[in-house]
C-alpha cells in the first residue's frame, strides 16, 4: 500500500478521534432530530411546519430531509453516542479524502501535514451535529475524485460523481459547492484540451446536475443551494464573513496568502513543472479562497482545495526537490489499519461523551414551562432545544431562520427582543404569554420592570410570564 494512503488514514483517525471527544451541543441538532423523528414516525416527508406557532402549516424545504433522517436513525441506534459516531465517521471520511487529495500532489507527509492539520483545525468549527457534516465528508470525496481523474488522466472514477450528487442533494444543500468544483474542472479541461478527461468530465457534470434534481424540491434544489451559499450572515453567525483574526481565519489567511507567495515565487513555469495544470489551480484557488472568507462555514472547503497547492508549492518555492510516496508492505499496512480501528473503538468505548452538553440551554426552565400554557417568545438559539424538549410549547422562532421565518417573523423577533418601537403591538399580535430570553435582552429588562412574573432565572436565562 502507498505510504501516502496510510498517512491519509492516520490523519483521518486523528480527526475522527478529536471529533469523538466533543459532546453534542449544536443549537440546531435538536430541531434536525425532531424533524427526522417526525418523518420516521409518520413515514412521510416533513414539508410543512409543525413546530412553531408563528408559521404553523407553512410549507418549506430545508433540502436536508435525508440528512435529518440519518441523524435521527443514528440517535435511535446509539443515543447521543450514535450521533458522535456519525460525526466521527463523517469527519474521518472527509479528512481521509482531503489528505489523500493533498498527498496526490505532495507525497511527502511532512510537507503535506501542515496544511492538512490546518484544515482539521478549521474543520472543527463545522463539526456541529447537523446535515452539514455530510458536506464535510462528501466535498473532499468529490475533490479527490476529480483531482485523481485530472492528474492521472483516468476518467473511469468520474462515474461515481452522479450517484454521489444524488445522495448529497438530499443530505445537505451545500452540494452546490460540489457542482462548482466539477464545473471548474470541466472548464479547465476544455480550455487546455485535455483529451482524456474533457468529454467524461462534461458528461459527469451534466449527469450530476440531473442527479441533484432527484429530490423533493426538484430542480429548484440547485437554485436553493446557490441561494444558501449566497445568503447573508445577518441572522446566522456561521454564514457571516470569516474574521481573519479568529483562529480559523488565521489558518485560512495563511493558506491563501501562502498560495499567493508560492504563486509569485514559482510563476507559471514553476507551477507547471511541480504541480501541473496551472489554469486549474487558478480556477480553484480564486473562487474557493473567496468562498472561505465570504462565508465562514465554508472556510473548510477553501482549506481542502488550497491544501494540495500549499503542500506541494511551499517546498518548491524554497528549492526543495519533489518526492515520491514510499511503499509500505501489506503486512505493516494491515497492522497500522487494525491499530487505527482499535484506537477509535477504544476512544468510542471509553472517552466519548454519553450525554449532550446543555450548559448553553435553558434546561432549568423546562419544568416551569411545562406547567404554564401559552404562547412563548423564545431566544432564537434555543428554538431547536425547545422543539425537542418542550413540544407542548410551539416555538416563536428556531434555527430554520432563513428557510422558514424570513422576513416577517424574524423582523418581529428582532424588534420585540431589542425593544424597538411597536414591541408591545408585536407581543399583543402574537398573544405572547411567556418570554424565555437571555437576561440582558432589553425586552426581558422592560417586562420585569413592568411586573411580568419571573417563573425562573439563572445568569443565562430568564422565564417571564404575563400576569
Amino acid at each position: 500500500m502507498k505510504g501516502s494512503t496510510i498517512a491519509a488514514v492516520l490523519f483521518a483517525v486523528i480527526a475522527a478521534g478529536f471529533a469523538l471527544l466533543a459532546p453534542v451541543s449544536d443549537p440546531d441538532i435538536f430541531w434536525h432530530l425532531a424533524s427526522g423523528d417526525w418523518m420516521l414516525d409518520h413515514a412521510q416527508l416533513l414539508d410543512r411546519d409543525v413546530f412553531s406557532f408563528t408559521r404553523t402549516g407553512v410549507s418549506y424545504h430545508t433540502g436536508e430531509w435525508l440528512g435529518e433522517i440519518m441523524l435521527a436513525l443514528a440517535f435511535r441506534a446509539g443515543d447521543w453516542l450514535g450521533l458522535e459516531l456519525l460525526r466521527a465517521a463523517c469527519v474521518g471520511i472527509g479528512t481521509f479524502f482531503a489528505a489523500r487529495a493533498t498527498l496526490r500532489i505532495q507525497p511527502h507527509v511532512g510537507w503535506a501535514a501542515l496544511p492538512i492539520l490546518g484544515g482539521i483545525l478549521v474543520a472543527r468549527t463545522v463539526w456541529g451535529d447537523r446535515p452539514q457534516l455530510f458536506t464535510v465528508a462528501l466535498f473532499p470525496i468529490v475533490f479527490d475524485l476529480l483531482l485523481g481523474a485530472r492528474i492521472s488522466e483516468s476518467p473511469r472514477r468520474l462515474a461515481l460523481l452522479p450517484p454521489i450528487f444524488l445522495l448529497w442533494a438530499n443530505l445537505h444543500a451545500a452540494f452546490a459547492a460540489g457542482l462548482v468544483l466539477v464545473a471548474i474542472f470541466v472548464i479547465e479541461s476544455g480550455l487546455v484540451r485535455v483529451r482524456a478527461t474533457r468529454a467524461p468530465l462534461l458528461v459527469a457534470l451534466v449527469l450530476s446536475v440531473l442527479a441533484t434534481s432527484a429530490n423533493p424540491a426538484g430542480p429548484g434544489a440547485i437554485a436553493a443551494g446557490f441561494g444558501y451559499a449566497s445568503s447573508s450572515g445577518a441572522y446566522v453567525v456561521e454564514e457571516g464573513p470569516l474574521d481573519e483574526l479568529s483562529g480559523a481565519g488565521i489558518v485560512v489567511a495563511a493558506m491563501l496568502l501562502g498560495s499567493l507567495t508560492i504563486a509569485l515565487v514559482l510563476g507559471l513555469e514553476g507551477i507547471t513543472r511541480r504541480l501541473g495544470a496551472p489554469l486549474l489551480w487558478a480556477g480553484l484557488i480564486v473562487p474557493f479562497g473567496f468562498l472561505g472568507f465570504a462565508i465562514q462555514r465554508h472556510a473548510i472547503l477553501a482549506c481542502v482545495v488550497l491544501a494540495p497547492f500549499v503542500a506541494a508549492g511551499l517546498p518548491a518555492a524554497i528549492g526543495r526537490p519533489a518526492r515520491t510516496a514510499p511503499l509500505v508492505p501489506r503486512s505493516a499496512s494491515a497492522v497500522i489499519l487494525a491499530g487505527c480501528v482499535l484506537l477509535l473503538g477504544v476512544a468510542a468505548a471509553t472517552v466519548a461523551p454519553r450525554s449532550p452538553n446543555l450548559a448553553a440551554y435553558p434546561e432549568g426552565a423546562l419544568a416551569a414551562l411545562a406547567a404554564r400554557p401559552g404562547h412563548l417568545l423564545n431566544e432564537y438559539d434555543w428554538g431547536g432545544f425547545l422543539v425537542r424538549n418542550a413540544p407542548e410549547h410551539p416555538v416563536f422562532v428556531d434555527g430554520r431562520g432563513a428557510t422558514l421565518f424570513l422576513p416577517d417573523v424574524l423582523a418581529d423577533f428582532d424588534k420585540a427582543v431589542g425593544l424597538g418601537p411597536g414591541y408591545r403591538g408585536i407581543l399583543d399580535r402574537w398573544r405572547i404569554d411567556l418570554v424565555l430570553l437571555r437576561p440582558e435582552r432589553p425586552l426581558a429588562v422592560a417586562l420585569r420592570e413592568d411586573g411580568w412574573a419571573v417563573l425562573g432565572e439563572t445568569a443565562r436565562w430568564v422565564l417571564l410570564a404575563r400576569r
Partner: protein, 467 residues
C-alpha cells in the same frame, strides 16, 4: 532608469480630486477632528480631554495631531470650501501616486496603468471623507512607489521612506503599515542581496525610529496596534470585511486578479510578495483597510497583468502578440509641469462648484438649542463629534475618538442605550440628566413607556429629559 511621464497620473488625479470635491462635508468623525485641530492651533497640543464629561482631564491619544491641524488650517483659511479643497488634494494625491507607481511599473502604457489602478480608486472612494485617514492612504501610495523604486535599486527612494514615515506618523496611525512594508521589503532585499544587509538593518531601525518622532512617542503604537490587531468590531468600518458587500466584492476581484496574475506570471516574485502579502493580511483584518491592498497591487497588476492574461490565452491554445513596455513613453519636464498646472485648474474648478455648507441632515441639528448646558447628556456615539463642534457648552458622553472611552464609559454607554439590566444604576451613578438617541434605540422606547419628557423629537433623533 528612465523617468516616466507624470502627465496621465496628474491629470487623472486632478479629475478624481475634483469628483471627490462634489460631496458636502458630512463625516461623523470630521467635527471632532476639526475641533481638536482648532484647539491645537489656538492653545497648543492638548494631551488631556476637554470635550467630554465622562473622561474629562484624562489622557487622550495625539497620534493624528498633524492631520487634525491640517483640517483646522484648511477650515481657517477657506471655511468649508477649504476643508473640501484639502480632501480634493488628498484624493488627487492618492490617485496620482497610485497611478504613477503603476505607470512606472509599465512605462509608456498609460491605459494599462489606469486599468490596474481602477480597483484602488474604486475602493478608496469609500474613504474620500474629511479625516486624517485619507492622508494615510496618500502616504501609503507614496510609500508603495518609493519601495518599488527601492526594489529596482534606488537607495535614495528607500532612504526617503524614513522622512515619509516621520510625517505619516504625525498625520495618522496607519503609519504602522508603512513600517511593516519597509521592514518586509528590506528583509527580502537582504535575503536576495547579501551586501544589502547592513543597510537593511539601518533602514528598519530608521523606519521604527521615525514613528517615534511624534508627540505620542511610543504611544503611537497603542492606537496602531489597537486598530490593526484588535479592531473595535462594533464600529462599522472596523468590522470584518464582508466579501459579499460592494467594497468586499471590489477587494475580492482585486485579490483574485493578483492571485491569477501570480499563478500565470513569470515567477521569481519574492519582491512582490514582500509588499503584497503583508498588505493583503492587514487589508483582510477590517473593512477600512481594504483599499491598502488595491493601492499596493496597482504596480504589480500593471507590470504583470497583461502578460498573465497572455499566458492564460496561450494555455488555451490562442496566440496573442506580446505587449512590451513602451520605454519611450517618458515625457519632457515641461509636459509634466503643464499637466500639474492643468490638474490644479481641474481641482480648483471642482472646488469652486463644490457644496459650500456641510450636510448635517443626519445629525440632531434641531436639538442643539434645547441641549442642557454642562455635564449630564448621554449622546449617541456617532453624534459626539457633531456636538463637540456645534454645542461646546454641552460636553459629550462619548464620541468617535473611541480609545479614551474604551472600558467603563463605553460599557455604561451600551448599558443605557441597549437597556441592559443595570441601566438605571448607570443613570444614577453617572448623573445622566438627558439622553439624545435614535427613536428606535431601546432606551428611547423604554423612556416613552415610562413617560419621560420629550424635549425634541424627529424621525432621526429624540432628546429626552431624565426625570
Amino acid at each position: 532608469m528612465s523617468r516616466p511621464s507624470l502627465v496621465i497620473p496628474l491629470l487623472v488625479g486632478g479629475f478624481f480630486g475634483a469628483v471627490a470635491a462634489q460631496t458636502a462635508v458630512k463625516d461623523t468623525d470630521f467635527f471632532w477632528h476639526l475641533a481638536t485641530g482648532q484647539q491645537t492651533l489656538a492653545g497648543g497640543l492638548a494631551r488631556t480631554d476637554v470635550f467630554s464629561w465622562t473622561v474629562f482631564g484624562e489622557r487622550i491619544l495625539t497620534d493624528q495631531w498633524l492631520g487634525d491641524v491640517m483640517i483646522a488650517l484648511a477650515y481657517a483659511v477657506g471655511s468649508w470650501s477649504g476643508v473640501i479643497a484639502v480632501r480634493a488634494l488628498a484624493v488627487a494625491a492618492v490617485v496620482a501616486l497610485t497611478l504613477g507607481a503603476a505607470l512606472h511599473a509599465r512605462p509608456g502604457r498609460p491605459l494599462i496603468a489606469v486599468l490596474a489602478s481602477l480597483p484602488a480608486i474604486a475602493l478608496s472612494h469609500y474613504a474620500w471623507t474629511d479625516r486624517p485617514e485619507l492622508f494615510g492612504y496618500a502616504m501609503f501610495a507614496a510609500m508603495v512607489w518609493l519601495v518599488r523604486l527601492g526594489q529596482r535599486g534606488s537607495g535614495l527612494a528607500l532612504a526617503a521612506t524614513i522622512p515619509l514615515l516621520a510625517i505619516w506618523s504625525n498625520l495618522h496611525g496607519s503609519s504602522a503599515l508603512g513600517v511593516g512594508v519597509v521592514t518586509a521589503v528590506c528583509l527580502e532585499r537582504a535575503i536576495s542581496v547579501p551586501s544589502f544587509r547592513s543597510r537593511a538593518a539601518l533602514l528598519i531601525l530608521g523606519a521604527l525610529a521615525a514613528t517615534l518622532v511624534t508627540p505620542s512617542g511610543i504611544g503611537i503604537w497603542t492606537s496602531s496596534s489597537g486598530h490593526f490587531l484588535a479592531p473595535p468590531r462594533f464600529i462599522q468600518e472596523e468590522g470584518v470585511p464582508d466579501l459579499r458587500s460592494e467594497p468586499g466584492l471590489l477587494f475580492a476581484v482585486t485579490l483574485g486578479l493578483v492571485l491569477t496574475t501570480a499563478l500565470l506570471g513569470r515567477g521569481g516574485g519574492l519582491a512582490d510578495a514582500a509588499i503584497l502579502v503583508p498588505v493583503a493580511f492587514v487589508s483582510l483584518t477590517a473593512t477600512r483597510h481594504l483599499p491598502f491592498f488595491a493601492i499596493a497591487a496597482a504596480p504589480f497588476l500593471a507590470a504583470d497583468g497583461v502578460d498573465a492574461l497572455g499566458s492564460a490565452l496561450r494555455l488555451a491554445g490562442l496566440r496573442i502578440p506580446v505587449l512590451a513596455a513602451n520605454v519611450s513613453g517618458s515625457a519632457p519636464r515641461a509636459a509634466d509641469f503643464g499637466a500639474l498646472v492643468a490638474s490644479g485648474l481641474i481641482l480648483a474648478a471642482g472646488v469652486a462648484i463644490a457644496p459650500r455648507a456641510p450636510d448635517v441632515s443626519s445629525f440632531p441639528q434641531a436639538a442643539l438649542a434645547t441641549l442642557p448646558p454642562g455635564p449630564g447628556l448621554l449622546n449617541r456615539y456617532e453624534w459626539g463629534g457633531f456636538l463637540i463642534w456645534y454645542a461646546p457648552a454641552t460636553p459629550v458622553f462619548v464620541d468617535g475618538r473611541l480609545f479614551p472611552y474604551v472600558g467603563d464609559t463605553l460599557d455604561d454607554y451600551r448599558s443605557v442605550i441597549g437597556l441592559h439590566p443595570d441601566w438605571r444604576e448607570v443613570l444614577a451613578r453617572r448623573g445622566i440628566r438627558a439622553v439624545l438617541v435614535g427613536p428606535s434605540d431601546a432606551i428611547a422606547v423604554r423612556a416613552a413607556d415610562l413617560g419621560w419628557p420629550v424635549l425634541v423629537r424627529t424621525e432621526k433623533y429624540v432628546l429626552l429629559r431624565v426625570p
